[in-house]
């Protein structure tokens, strides 16, 4: 197994290839358009065939939780002391269907299954079986309905449907193919911020940065800033459990208590940085610090030199 060995004359090749630079990232930038929805679903309360949900510890598995409630074969709520997962009431589904038909069906298909009337695939993925938390997250953060379908990732913006309407749509989707996770309601009292900080460094900082400032990822994708105070604890918990867009999905590898601690850390510490040392300089670290040191520090002192000395 031999790696390529190019002579430094390859530097000239780079300059020539530079003209092709715009093609190269374009060619490889085709983001996968396959959806990552759960294909299995909660068949009925009492069934244990949950594809991809751990049975080891409390991690969003209804059947391993302490307060599971079912009714008419539908999961009402489950969870434990740290997080309670609640499905929107089935009565919401009727209004939800109307909202869905108006707002979502043009991209996701009239059956929410990603299939257009002519049998082709729609732009939006199959939503059947994604779970109420997924629908609630995408709508309450304003990412859906998407306004720029050509963008590689839908951006957070002002939501078009309010929180209740989001739940209504979620109820409708859930009625088509009931699934998990349900909408998580984290209980922040008793959260361990130190545990949250440690988990954040291990699981989240690699994309969102250790200060939660967010940053650009590969091929035009990005990890959004978590310092935005409009992000609610519910949305943080949803994002962790559902793994929206390119964010990984944390299921059995994080218990509900760990997710709760993370949510507390993000909403308390990341969103309200104390910055005891002074101005935070954007939380991007040495890049900004370097500019301040050179422009304000050296520059300011050089201006003072300009005053003290003579000019010729």
């Amino acid at each position: 197994m031999r790696s390529q060995f190019l002579l430094p004359g390859g530097l000239l090749a780079i300059a020539a290839l530079g003209a092709l630079a715009l093609i190269f990232p374009g060619a490889a930038a085709q983001a996968s358009s396959t959806s990552k929805t759960l294909s299995a679903s909660v068949k009925a309360c009492g069934s244990v065939n949950l594809k991809g949900v751990t049975t080891t510890y409390n991690s969003g598995n209804p059947f391993a939780s302490t307060n599971l409630k079912c009714s008419d074969g539908m999961v009402i709520h489950y969870g434990n002391n740290s997080i309670t997962y609640v499905n929107p009431p089935a009565s919401y589904a009727a209004t939800g269907k109307l909202l869905f038909d108006q707002t979502c069906s043009s991209c996701h298909g009239s059956e929410a299954n990603g299939v257009a009337p002519n049998g082709q695939a729609t732009i939006g993925p199959n939503l059947q079986g994604v779970g109420a938390a997924t629908i609630d997250f995408w709508i309450t953060t304003g990412r859906m309905p998407a306004t720029d379908v050509a963008a590689i990732e839908a951006e957070r913006k002002t939501p078009r449907l309010n929180d209740k309407q989001a739940l209504q749509v979620a109820a409708y989707i859930n009625s088509l193919d009931p699934s998990v996770p349900a909408v998580p309601l984290p209980n922040l009292r008793g959260a361990d911020l130190a545990d949250g900080a440690s988990l954040f460094a291990l699981n989240c900082a690699a994309c969102h940065t250790i200060t939660g400032a967010g940053d650009a990822l590969a091929f035009g994708t990005n990890a959004p800033s978590l310092e935005n105070r409009q992000v609610t604890p519910q949305q943080v918990a949803e994002a962790i459990r559902i793994g929206p867009a390119n964010m990984p999905r944390f299921s059995g590898n994080l218990s509900d208590t760990q997710v709760r601690d993370l949510v507390a850390y993000v909403t308390e510490k990341i969103q309200h940085p104390s910055n005891p040392g002074g101005a935070g300089l954007g939380g991007v670290g040495p890049v900004a610090e370097g500019f301040v040191a050179l422009l304000l520090g050296v520059g300011g002192l050089a201006l003072i030199c300009f005053w003290i000395g003579e000019r010729s």
Binding site: A31, T56, Y57, L202, A218
Partner: protein, 323 residues
């Protein structure tokens, strides 16, 4: 009267330099209104003193760091500003002139120095060559030998330490809290960091054995020859130590199925053996062969297929010893 030029420059013509008297404007104030300038500087110094006193109070009362620092900084700055302004506006600016001494010595002195070196060392060379040579040799040998305690005592030789990790056949995968991994732990699109059981809290375990476990759709995997059984149920494990410069490759984009190293943005495709797709990393992340053991926990079939981490001179591409 002191001389205008140095004694050592007979070739220089003596430049008559005008001499300043105390009433000379060169010794006077640069300020147009010295009295007003003095009052202004006095005011600045006074405010500086107040600031310093404030600094004292802020420190004594343990106020916020920015008050302690702000008063100290402002006080120091104003005191300095006042002193500098005094120097610039109320002290003699000149311009005054000073002759440079010729740096070089006279040709006679130079010859004398060279002669002393040459003639006296001739004494050594002609008469005591053997002694001089022996001493030089001894010093040289000592210099070389002395490097050893300076360097060698600092640490061990690397040996095979860079070639292998602690992963062995049957090593059980655990997370940072020591919990094992079973078939339901991750869903497709999930990622976690794992270590060999028992080593999750040791610095070396974290530094060298750290492994990233990702779950992808089994049908998405493109397995290389000989690696067909390495990724059961879509669980695929790669060394987390980037092959570029050793940063933990913790950034995973699940839709792109790309592991990105946060340090210099090398991008590894998890579908086909973590081959680098972009960025400076030269080699794929070594893959850990997995299987589910009798208790249903994920364990390693063997160690990594090659040395993990960045390249080094002795690195070969042969198998890591540890099957």
């Amino acid at each position: 009267m002191s001389e205008d030029v140095s004694e050592h420059e007979p070739s220089r013509t003596k430049v008559p330099m005008p001499i300043a008297t105390l009433s000379d404007p060169h010794l006077g104030d640069a300020a147009k209104n010295p009295a007003r300038t003095e009052s202004l500087i006095a005011l600045i110094l006074l405010v500086g003193i107040v600031m310093i006193a404030g600094f004292g109070a802020a420190y004594w009362q343990n106020w916020n760091p920015w008050i302690i620092g702000g008063t100290m900084g402002a006080g120091l700055f104003l005191l300095g500003f006042g002193l500098t302004a005094w120097g610039k506006y109320l002290m003699p600016q000149g311009p005054f002139v000073e002759e440079r001494h010729v740096l070089a010595s006279s040709p006679e002195e130079r010859d004398s120095m060279a002669a002393a070196l040459v003639e006296r060392s001739a004494v050594v060379v002609k008469r005591r060559k053997l002694l001089g040579g022996l001493f030089a040799l001894g010093s040289g040998i000592f210099g070389i030998v002395a490097i050893f305690p300076l360097l060698r005592s600092l640490g061990p030789v690397p040996g095979t330490s860079l070639d292998r990790t602690q992963w062995r056949k049957g090593s059980v995968l655990v997370d940072s809290n020591g919990r094992t991994v079973n078939a339901g732990t991750l869903v497709v699109g999930g990622i976690m960091t794992v270590f060999p059981k028992g080593l999750q809290n040791t610095p070396e375990g974290q530094a060298i054995d750290q492994t990233v476990l990702v779950r992808v759709q089994s049908t998405d995997l493109v397995t290389a020859k000989g690696r067909e059984t390495w990724a059961p149920k879509g669980y695929v494990a790669y060394s987390k130590v980037c092959t570029h410069l050793g940063c933990p490759v913790g950034l995973y984009e699940q839709q792109l199925e790309l592991l990105v190293c946060p340090c210099h943005q090398s991008m590894f495709n998890v579908r086909n053996g973590a081959i680098p797709q972009f960025g400076p990393a030269p080699r794929p992340l070594p893959q850990l062969p997995l299987h589910f053991d009798d208790e249903g926990n994920l364990a390693a079939q063997a160690g990594f297929d090659q040395a993990v981490g960045p390249g080094f001179f002795e690195r070969t591409t042969t198998k890591e010893n540890g099957t």
